[in-house]
Symmetry: C2
Subunit: 735 residues, 2 copies
Amino acid sequence: MAFVGTFTGVTARAESRRGLLSTARPAVSSSASSFVAPSALKRASVAKHAGGMTMVEAADTVVPAPLLKQTGDDFKDMCINSIRFISIDGVEKANSGHPGMPMGMAPAAYTLFQNYMTFNPKNPNYVNRDRFVLSAGHGSMLIYSLLYLYGYDSVNMDDLKNFRQLGSRTPGHPENFETAGVEVTTGPLGQGVCNAVGIAMSEAHIAATYNKPGFDLVDNYTYAIMGDGCVMEGISGEACSLAGHLGLGKLIVLYDDNNISIDGNTDISFTEDVGKRYEAYGWQVIDVPNGNVDTDAIAKAIEDGKACTDKPTLIKVTTMIGFGSPNKSDSHDSHGAALGKDEVTATREYLGWEYPEFEVPQKALDHFRSKIDEGAEAEKAWNAKFAEYKSKFPELGAQFESCVLKGELPSGWEAELKAYGEGAKANATRKLSEASLQVLAKTIPNWVGGSADLAPSNLTIMEGYGDFQKATPEGRNLRFGVREHGMGAICNGIVLSGYNLLPYCATFFIFTDYMRASMRLAALSQVGVVYTMTHDSVALGEDGPTHQPIEHLASYRAMPNINMYRPADPVEVAAAYAVGVESRKTPTIIALTRQGTKKLENGSYEGAKKGAYVLSDNSSGGAADLCLIATGSEVDLIVDAAEELRKSGKTVRVVSMPCWERFELQDESYKQSVLPDAIPLIKRLSVEAMSSFGWAKYAGNQVSIDTFGASGPGPAVMKLFNMTVENVVAKASAL
Amino acid sequence: MAFVGTFTGVTARAESRRGLLSTARPAVSSSASSFVAPSALKRASVAKHAGGMTMVEAADTVVPAPLLKQTGDDFKDMCINSIRFISIDGVEKANSGHPGMPMGMAPAAYTLFQNYMTFNPKNPNYVNRDRFVLSAGHGSMLIYSLLYLYGYDSVNMDDLKNFRQLGSRTPGHPENFETAGVEVTTGPLGQGVCNAVGIAMSEAHIAATYNKPGFDLVDNYTYAIMGDGCVMEGISGEACSLAGHLGLGKLIVLYDDNNISIDGNTDISFTEDVGKRYEAYGWQVIDVPNGNVDTDAIAKAIEDGKACTDKPTLIKVTTMIGFGSPNKSDSHDSHGAALGKDEVTATREYLGWEYPEFEVPQKALDHFRSKIDEGAEAEKAWNAKFAEYKSKFPELGAQFESCVLKGELPSGWEAELKAYGEGAKANATRKLSEASLQVLAKTIPNWVGGSADLAPSNLTIMEGYGDFQKATPEGRNLRFGVREHGMGAICNGIVLSGYNLLPYCATFFIFTDYMRASMRLAALSQVGVVYTMTHDSVALGEDGPTHQPIEHLASYRAMPNINMYRPADPVEVAAAYAVGVESRKTPTIIALTRQGTKKLENGSYEGAKKGAYVLSDNSSGGAADLCLIATGSEVDLIVDAAEELRKSGKTVRVVSMPCWERFELQDESYKQSVLPDAIPLIKRLSVEAMSSFGWAKYAGNQVSIDTFGASGPGPAVMKLFNMTVENVVAKASAL
């Protein structure tokens, strides 16, 4: 059995892996050795009594105490320990959180922020700032510590003391919508580094589109810190493979290789060669064997990362989780819980930290805060450059200002989209989507997107707008490969890049299952991605039940803050895209048919934008005998069924309901105008080639499919599941 | 822009990549050259007129025609082409499907099945058979062709002719529940190879548990074919990294490296070094540069794979998609659509195939069918070995027979589980789950499982049953690492391994989003995995909205064939696990609290197994004034609220409803006994700290959470969202 016990001593293997002894520079060794001895003795003693599986043999064997080695530069240590102890104290006060990662990565984070990152604490949205993503979001106190120390207004001392408390700006995991300076919402592992790929893609695209000789309007770097968990998640492999393919030279990821995850030592499940894997992806890989102390090596690695312009860089920073904690470092014990009062005291003693909780030495704080002026200067210089750019390139400058800086939509985009929908002939809604995408491509310059290797099926190519490839990042068609989850997270990054790009992405509707975690994060972090999801029901036919959505509409209707559209015809498809474009803080899924549909006689653009509307009603007082409600391709069924039913003398209301969420946003009188109480639930029939789940709210009766689908030609499958006019008429007649 | 056009000629690069010219062995070249010339001329001519982006210059330049090189062994070519043309004809008749992969991989599949795999066509369930997984499930005609040719009863000529038709045993993608001989359901990319990892883990575990010196009861290999799509999907990276860690020497995966995906040439999105990546995972990687013709190299690679006992093997078989089709090979055109009548004719001509559609030369068929006797002999020999084993090791032999062969559950397991539940004290339901797992570990020897690196939080370790590691595959605790999606697919493979193992797996409930595609495949392919999902509501507290499920219960309640349990106390937790264990064809999710819960006074094991039951009712005639319904931790709320409401003179029915799906399976009279029509919807209130979505079916009013959660201590968050007795009383009083 692999060694999984709490680390209370120093195994030769762990020691060697971390390179704590072998790689320390002479200056560090001598500096550190001056205050090693007493605690080293103490530490060995602790090890002896703690019952660890492998330990230093005896208290009287004086072992060099690697935990005590700091950088050898007293002031640098003070700054790094400022980050460590704010993180420690924040977690301690909350009695909840993850101190270990910030303790281990404080030297790397300090080196990065202090010496390499350009940012303006007083304007977190400065457009050419370097971006930082904490992919290992559980280490949130690291970013909160940095934001506080560098003088962001979003995190003050009270926020630090209210870590993980209701209403604070320092929630358990970083949330972009709560805390300025937090670029993306992280926590679910692997997502952040993929967001970073999306941000770096955005930078490359905007730079290629707007930069001119002598005018590097946009030239920032995207940095991320990820941990073992991020690396293990498949999503990160997807996006990082694509990042390598695209040669994103301005993406630099620090991998906190601390050998510890929640189950204990990663030896029990994760022994692959990560560096080699990233080389296989086409990345530059740089090892920093002793990230606990060797800030020079960290600095050199970042510089080498910046120097490599045609590949992303992975810096493998080998650290000890919980560095500085004599009894909990290098152990899962320091990962996800407060260290505890005694251990905090012991850690203060170990690191020679004489300051009370939450106190930062003024000298260090002044040093951190010097970045405020530096950042303001950087932005000022950029503003001057942009003014000159505008005068030299007035048209492009105006576009940059409007589209990139302000995120404005060009006038006329919606009129053109609506006109297209109203003028278009019937077709499969995926074909109508394809045409809508051409309109948007033409009218909105920052509209970009693509498919996870289903472009010829999803019909998502914007003709004439080029592919985003390594040599052509100005291309607006994104080629994600068969990487749905990575695609979802990349699109979140594109939205949150700060360049106001509007991305759409696509796969078969069923394969939203592969990217659901990213879609939920879009909804949670208020990110207006548009999801073009074709092949939206069993009517897709032959591919069979592995490819036929059943529960998918319901599963997204249940999710907060996401528009689930299923349009029926050209007008409704155009309306769905319009909502998607306008909804900058709400993602929009558009489910589209493989098969042909009719054009509705009374299809309404405005009605579809409102989520539901009346297509026809042959009653006089608004209290029809029956109400038929459907979405997408099944609207054709209820239109035809109503005609049949009316022949037998019934009054029937026909409602198209492409988006429940939008309907729920309307006022009560509108809702009553569509689904009046005068037609009780038992007189309403919903028709959808999908699970009935959730429909009970709007209709007491359903024509639906509550089992998995079947392989066969589409029309035969629809008939098999009774998705026919005859069946709708029969069911409705029986009400 | 990368070259993505239809392949109508031979680019030097593609040629070099495939090694068609450079690696053909002399024997092959000379043999093939005897019938190259005329068609080569013709082919060049075709290229000239097809308008491809890069093409052979002119018809009068005689170019060696690589498409025509076959293996050089006429009989072998006949057998391989039998596979090719059944696949071509099946897709053609259906006018739907994927001919390209079977055409390219026929040589590899033939070599594998004919020369290396042990199987018994007349008993597809022969326990020690080698397993084969077609991870690239879209190439389903390949496996159907093989099953037909080797004489499986499950696929006859009519089935081949009814490919992708309703009710056939040859659906669009392979489905284990439709077609004997198909081990797992594939199609959604990446899943199959992960299933194969699970199968190989099962083999290793069963072998370590039961094999004795001289008695290798179980020693089969697991083979898989995956394509570029499978390799790109993150899920495959997760499972293959774990497979490398575990050193699964009996897992051999053939990677169909054909450079084509749906968007065109993989150059546009997928240029990583796959072999190097798999080496980084700890795999042996073997290149077969010319998989189109070089069956000797394929054979050698398989042998080398078998010889390497401590690592899984990836055989990178470079092929040309649609091999043999003069105008559609090496192009996405042969990937996902019928070749078309003319091209089928051209392909017949190219490959010298003189037989009409669906006809297999008798000589070839006899050859394939010889495996019937061979397989029967193998099973007979195994039966004899097992008889001897039983006599030497009667206890273990009996256990193997009962647990592994018959899949019986040992007597007494449920009585012990129920007794535990009824005797246990209140606790967080995740703690009660932990205790239930110990009971199951003790009573069911084939109960195995673990967590995606959250064992200390999910509380899923079976104490005393060891870790499954490379050196200890007999261990029953699985350490998945932070790989939820891989975990889900591996568990599907474990169930479908044919060894009747019963797996559970675990993560936080929210992270089912990462593994949803695998869970859906469990439901679809009738696989009884148990999902132990802790931290099931906003009450988990500080981790905040990224970790707090809202829509998750609804999203699984909407999915067909999956039990969504949310038990409230020890009795219900035990009942949920009992249903999970019994439901061999339906997966079961058990959502569990982080926080403490009370023990219900009238908690009913049988009631919980039925999905819903009455906890209390102070009315006389069964028509209480109000009915309160809840699940999990909120049952405590309605119990207390009912007490308050009754004080004010109301009659109140209190219903615990841990599993909707099980409730719906009960007969009408039972359902009425729990939720009688006498209490109308408007008098019913559901209480669940989760989305209200779907509840309208059972209750007209909800106390629910229809937004994302918040970070703060659990009780504070519950209060913030009005999950209090006071609020339930107020809401109920207003009805």
